[in-house]
Homo-oligomer: 277 residues x 2
């Protein structure tokens, strides 16, 4: 569709013994440091045998031209597989192996250098906790059910369309936190108390706000031209929500300028939730 | 609660300029290579100034004892902040900076070495796509709404409690894929056709199964002692589901032995969904 580029895009490969999520995430963080370069990304997960590694090397090497050297990010841990991958003529960036030696020296323990811990469910209890948290967040989305609200570790509150749902899902799925979310509506804005169902749990609440412009845009996509989406209404609701947060000492963040990942990190830091143990 | 250990746990710090997700994920991948060592993990996100870095160094150095050297994983990109962090006496594992030089040489471009791209929403279009996908997945969870089914890029099908919901959420939230999920119920098991609502979209379907033992356990937590949770019923449903997948050439995976991350990677690879562009 677009005009052909003068300079060829640089091929980038993310190789992994597991899902490739880490290779991709960390690799992309690094690529973001080169905003003027265009990359053509490809992920190759589950490289678990030397035979597969050999095929992968052939494949990435085929992307090499006289003018462009592809970048290869790898989080493969298995030593034999890694040795095979390192035969590539592309630029091989070993995100994993290169640091293991340093860690071995500090711990005075040899790394197992295998795929254990890269596969399967990881810590089964922690995985179970995450899956149960997703279930909880689904049931307690948008105030749908209040049945198990006392079990919520965190309650996100906000006017409609400020980002409660994706933030809840992220906290549940990634961090195993039991999150409920509760919408602030017209009658809540007229009251000075917190809505009755969440009143006993102010210390677990966290507020989201947005900017009026952003909120109006998001609401407009759902109900174009409505009062609900009008700048005046959005501005009013946000002002009232902020007053409510302030009055009840509920910490809050602005979802207009932050990603769900960032909001999750800030919320957990503010509420001192440590899910790493 | 537990008896005190002879050997002190090794403190581990994940430091980052952003949310710390990459530092944590990749650091943990490496720590998994040392299954005999016990770690005490702590994440310190949003280290964006030299002053904060100085405080962080004081904090991590305080965890150092005569017998234990803490591990510090860092994805901080900002050069001044990194230089400050490197003053720590702990083992400093720079997941980021150590590779940037290599990439610069390959690309013949200098890294911006700043926090751009580590903050904010990243690519706004891609972020928007992910948030919209979460909304879609919520609306189309468990066959609740069929309204926009034609827009689904992927339809997960399975008997109840095989992991459709968390897998859908993960694919939506992390990869921006519009996923619907649809439950296979008694009447579907007696038929040889696919359920009517999804019949036109067999080429977008992906099946989940589980083991009878695992499914029975998960269902038992919800409805203990029920026929629904019985081994016989679970076994029957899984057999029928597998037959249905086979008959309609719907690829499938077993959720009993895989994490949502792994299932997502396999599904995307099988369906050749590339969300990296």
């Amino acid at each position: 569709m677009s005009a052909p580029d003068r300079v060829a895009d640089t091929p980038v490969f993310f190789l992994a013994g597991g899902t490739g999520i880490s290779a991709e995430t960390l690799g992309n963080l690094m690529l973001n440091q080169f905003p003027t370069v265009r990359f053509l990304r490809r992920k190759i997960p589950f490289i678990t045998t030397v035979e597969v590694a050999r095929q992968v090397v052939a494949e990435v090497d085929a992307a090499m031209t006289s003018s462009v050297t592809p970048l290869v990010f790898s989080t493969v841990a298995d030593e034999e597989v890694r040795t095979e991958l390192q035969k590539t003529r592309c630029a091989f960036i070993d995100l994993f192996g290169s640091h293991l030696d340093a860690i071995e020296r500090v711990l005075h323990v040899n790394a197992s250098h295998n795929r254990a811990g890269l596969h399967g469910l990881g810590d089964p209890r922690r995985y179970e906790q995450r899956m149960k948290a997703v279930e909880f967040a689904m049931e307690h989305d948008d105030g749908q059910s209040l049945r198990n609200l006392p079990q919520a570790e965190l309650i996100l509150i906000a006017p409609s369309r400020c980002g409660k749902t994706p933030t809840s899902m992220y906290l549940a799925l990634q961090h195993g936190i039991k999150v409920a979310n509760y919408p602030l509506v017209e009658e809540d804005f007229r009251a000075s108390d917190l809505p009755r169902p969440i009143r006993p749990y102010a210390d677990r609440c966290f507020g989201l706000i947005s900017t009026a412009a952003r909120l109006s845009q998001v609401r407009g996509e759902r109900r174009p031209g409505s009062t609900y989406a009008s700048l005046a209404q959005c501005s009013y609701e946000l002002r009232r929500a902020e007053a409510l947060y302030h009055q009840h000492r509920i910490p809050s963040i602005n979802s207009a300028s932050m990603s769900v990942e960032e909001m999750a990190a800030v919320i957990m830091q503010t509420r001192r939730m440590n899910n790493l143990a």
